[in-house]
């Protein structure tokens, strides 16, 4: 019996744990409890709002209306400071006629350049209920405008629904359009020139990109790094399958392109734009120069209605924008036609597309609230603040979801290896997530954004690390091909002897009827 026991001892008590230990998949210990405790819907951002009114009653009235309006939104937490306008500022505000000058006067007293702050200032001589431009200041007339103030803050300045969409499970319209978050983007302007022999395009693409797009993205440098590029794609001929339609213009005709044909142009462009050589995501902007014999090209919508627009353009979410331009009738009458594109209009169109692609949503109209239209390429200050909020939340929730799904995968698939590097980046992502949510609740938006970005990038690198898959394709049948011939014949008698062994341990007679 001792022999039997020693076989069991060697094979089962020493052998099995040894086998278990040597065939174990290498995994660094991970903070699973922290990962599983992430609640993506609980994040909120604290933001500072200062209400400046002429008298205390108005300020209280305004604040109560604002608090009421933001009661049901848990994503933006307002930290409201109430104060009265100083006598000096009041007199100057009343004295200046122009609102922009008034903003400057407010800016002289208060710091309007700080991120995540906003000022609601009373200004008596106002024609509308509220007035808002590019700076972090909104004017209102009196206490009667309090409803409009609250509404405009909620729907225009803070855009709570879009911010909430950034952390939700399903993507809303804005998230479907904008690029996924990233440390930087390449913006490539491709001038598509199908007939260089028949038309000359007089455009310095490099300068146009640097001048217009450059000054736009400079303002957004707090969010991402941008690299601007331009290229020409010659002889890329796309068949629009346009129908000629007679009209009363100088040309006497126009070519109608159905909207549903346009996405095929993107496929054609993708062949040549060489976006894959960039290390960062690329935002494509394409200017298609229609040759004389195909001009002017007009886009028709799905109901066969002309799209009434100054510029023929369309946008593809998460890809980029296309402007279709062409020479005028007078240009084409020349024997060697030259088209000088209207750079200001074309670049303006590209910028309006870029705004959406980068995540700035168009402001909704609120009754009684006046919003100054954009006059330059630069985005509004409060739009950038809002974008910071959206991106912070988006990166944070995305990082959390990535880690959660990684943890879930690790539970489901036992073959995944987690080496030290992946473990380190998961740990740093978890740490950054915690830091970022603390910073968010303190209202330190720019820091929180940077922290959430590092969390996002760390989580993505951990998830995309190819070493995770090192053992994934090690098939089970090959394992059994080794185990079965060795283990089955050996373990069979050993396991069977266990029964006798147990009986023997209990002191019962073992060989009752076994042998003759």
């Amino acid at each position: 019996m001792w022999a039997s026991a020693s076989f069991v001892g060697v094979l089962i008590i020493i052998g099995l744990p040894l086998w278990w230990k040597t065939t174990e998949v290498y995994r660094v210990s991970l903070p699973y409890d922290k990962i599983s405790s992430f609640d993506t819907l609980s994040h909120s951002i604290t933001t500072e709002l200062t209400v400046l009114a002429n008298d205390d009653a108005t300020a209280t009235e305004i604040i109560s209306k604002i608090l009421n309006a933001f009661k049901d939104s848990d994503v933006t937490k307002l930290r409201i400071t109430k104060s009265l306008i100083s006598k000096q500022l009041l007199s100057t505000l009343d004295a200046v006629a122009d609102e922009h000058e008034a903003v400057e006067e407010v800016g002289a007293v208060y710091d309007l350049t700080k991120h995540n702050t906003f000022y609601v200032v009373q200004r008596k001589p106002l024609f509308q209920d509220t007035w808002l431009a590019g700076d972090r200041v909104m004017f209102f007339r009196d206490a009667k405008a309090s409803n409009t103030v609250a509404e405009a803050l909620k729907r225009v300045v803070y855009q709570t629904s879009v911010v909430e969409g950034a952390r939700s499970e399903t993507a809303d319209a804005a998230r479907q359009t904008r690029f996924p978050p990233g440390a930087g983007y390449h913006i490539v302007l491709s001038v598509v020139h199908p007939r260089p022999d028949a038309l000359k395009v007089d455009l310095n693409a490099g300068d146009a990109v640097e001048d217009y797009i450059g000054s736009f993205v400079d303002e957004m440098s707090v969010l991402h790094n941008f690299t601007l590029k331009s290229q020409w794609l010659h002889l890329l001929d796309f068949d629009f399958q346009a129908k000629e339609i007679k009209d009363t213009s100088d040309w006497g005709r126009h070519y109608a392109v159905r909207q549903d044909r346009l996405h095929l142009l993107l496929t054609k462009l993708e062949e040549r734009t060489a976006t894959h050589v960039s290390e960062l995501p690329t935002i494509n902007l394409a200017l298609y120069a229609v040759p004389c014999e195909r001009a002017p090209l007009v886009i028709y919508d799905s109901n066969d209605k002309k799209v009434e627009s100054h510029v023929q353009a369309f946008m593809s979410p998460k890809w980029g924008g296309v402007v279709v331009g062409g020479p005028s009738e007078a240009d084409c009458r020349d024997s060697s036609p030259v088209w000088k594109p209207n750079v200001r209009v074309i670049m303006g169109t590209f910028i309006s597309q870029l705004r959406k692609l980068l995540g700035i949503t168009d402001a909704v109209h609120v009754n009684g609230a006046h919003l100054e239209p954009l006059r330059s390429v630069t985005p509004r200050q409060w739009e950038i603040d809002n974008l910071l909020r959206i991106r912070t939340l988006e990166q944070l929730t995305s990082a959390e979801r990535t880690l959660q799904s990684l943890a879930q995968l690790l539970g489901e698939i036992s073959n995944i290896v987690i080496n030290d590097e992946v473990g380190a980046s998961i740990n740093s992502a978890v740490e950054s997530i915690q830091r970022a949510s603390e910073l968010m609740s303190h209202g330190d938006l720019v820091q929180a954004y940077n922290m959430s970005q590092s969390a996002f990038l760390a989580a993505e690198t951990a998830f995309m690390e190819p070493s995770l898959l090192a053992l994934l394709y090690f098939p089970d049948d090959q394992k059994y091909a080794i185990y079965i011939p060795l283990f089955l014949p050996i373990m069979f008698p050993v396991v069977l002897s266990l029964k006798n062994l147990i009986l023997w341990f209990r002191g019962k007679p073992v060989h009752k009827e076994k042998t003759e």
Binding site: S230, S335, S336, P485, S497
Partner: protein, 557 residues
Amino acid sequence: MDFLRRFLSYCIFFTFFLCVRCDEFREELFFKPLPSTHLYSYFQFVTLVDSEVSSFHSHLAPRSLAEVVSRFQVEELHLTLTEGQWRHHQWGYPVLDAAPGAELYAWFSPDVTDVDTQWKKLSATLSGLFCASLNFIDSFNTVTPQMALWPMGAVKSSQNVTSQLRYASLPREIVCTENLTPWKKLLPCESSRGFSALLNSRMIHNTNYHSVGVHVRKVCKSSDCLETQLEFKQTVALIYDYDIIKSNDWSFRKLFGQGLPGACPLSTDSKIYVDVTSNSTQPFTLSPPPDNIILSQRGRTDTKLAVYNIHPDGKMINIGVKHKTKSQIPVSIHPPLFFNRYVLGYGKEFGGIVTEITNNCLAPINVVVLENAPWWLPIQLSTLRVNGEAESKLVQSQYYSPGRSRQKPYHLELLIKLPPKSTTTITIDFEFVFLKWQEYPPDANHGFYIGSALISANLPTARNYTSLPITGTTFDSVINDTKLWYPIVFRTNGAMVSLPTPDFSMPYNVICLACTVVALAFGPLHNICTKELVLKPSGTSLSLTQKLLNLFKKKKD
């Protein structure tokens, strides 16, 4: 008249156009009948851009390549993908020689400190760009040539160029259409117009030899070289066999399957050169007749070139050659320098590589021979013999860097002075190495390729020499270019060895057999150890199984 007017308008249009952008694109095509029955056609597409602005804003230059060059701070880059073997002794010399398979070498800017990492990243990026297996380039197949390669472009004279150079070749790489398509996309006219429209993959992969190349270098903008330009040169070299096209009268339609649909509208200059020197011995006519015929004297070699200027008018052009007499096989005269390389030995233990270099000139020639053996083929310097001698006077200088298993290849460079009218034989022995079972390539019994050796020479004569001078960008720089020396880098033929290859199913068989034996032995052993014999008193009641067993026993009896 209409044509002339249109042509003038193009000229005006392009001169204006180019001054604004200051980048130029030229396309050239060169034909040369080669001895015995072959025809050499060489396409060259050159884009010149100002190096300051090129990487971010490109007009005619390929943005993808410009971006790769600027991102990895590459000063000069040469990539060739070749199928087939150039026969130097028979065909003479190509414009640019290329090793069979894939070959990549690059000089990085002096600012790059970690050249090896940049090199790895560069090869991985180019692998994606050209759909080639360049990602297999690693430290174990990369060498830094000390003497054999020098930059073709403009470099500062004070710069240490050798330490920034990396060279690798993948002789096993198979070149096909998937490499040609991305290559065509780098051209401003892509393949829709211009000479690149002739590159019909169905026809060009039907040749004896084809080589696709991308070369980026810096060239001087003016003679004082204060400003440099970036030159992107894309080349295709094809060798057609008259036996394949079934006659020695060739035409575009026979060679490429179609005519030439005019020049690329973006090119400043589109020219076709046909070497008509052999017209005196083998009379033929060109149709349509060339625009002019140039007599070029290079050294003491006379070359006659027929030149066609092609205009971007979209007219189909079909240039062809008709021989007056039936085909005669011309006598091939050996070029000034030719070479051969082969593997020695039998069995699976030792072997040797022999490189024979023949100097056919009346003057001695200095050559640098670079032998680059992979780590699994250790070459031993002690076995190096030049013409059978261990200490040869011919060897002027020598560089040897021993390899390291799985990390570094063996690298030997010899500067040899070849005596006139002689053949020099360089022999070096190697031993075969057992690889780990995962290191064998698929189909390991096919054999293992050894990369070409590089032979870099300064030829004293321009006979058979077709390369452009180092300062030249376009083909017209060849005309009357007499120099003291004609530098050229050759690639010898590759070789193949068969390494000891195991039976790959053996480990599994061994496991199964060993396990069965262990299992068979274990059963009785376990039984003997654990069972004990116990005496059983007779007359005890029998269990049911015992009764059944007894029943069988009785029947047997």
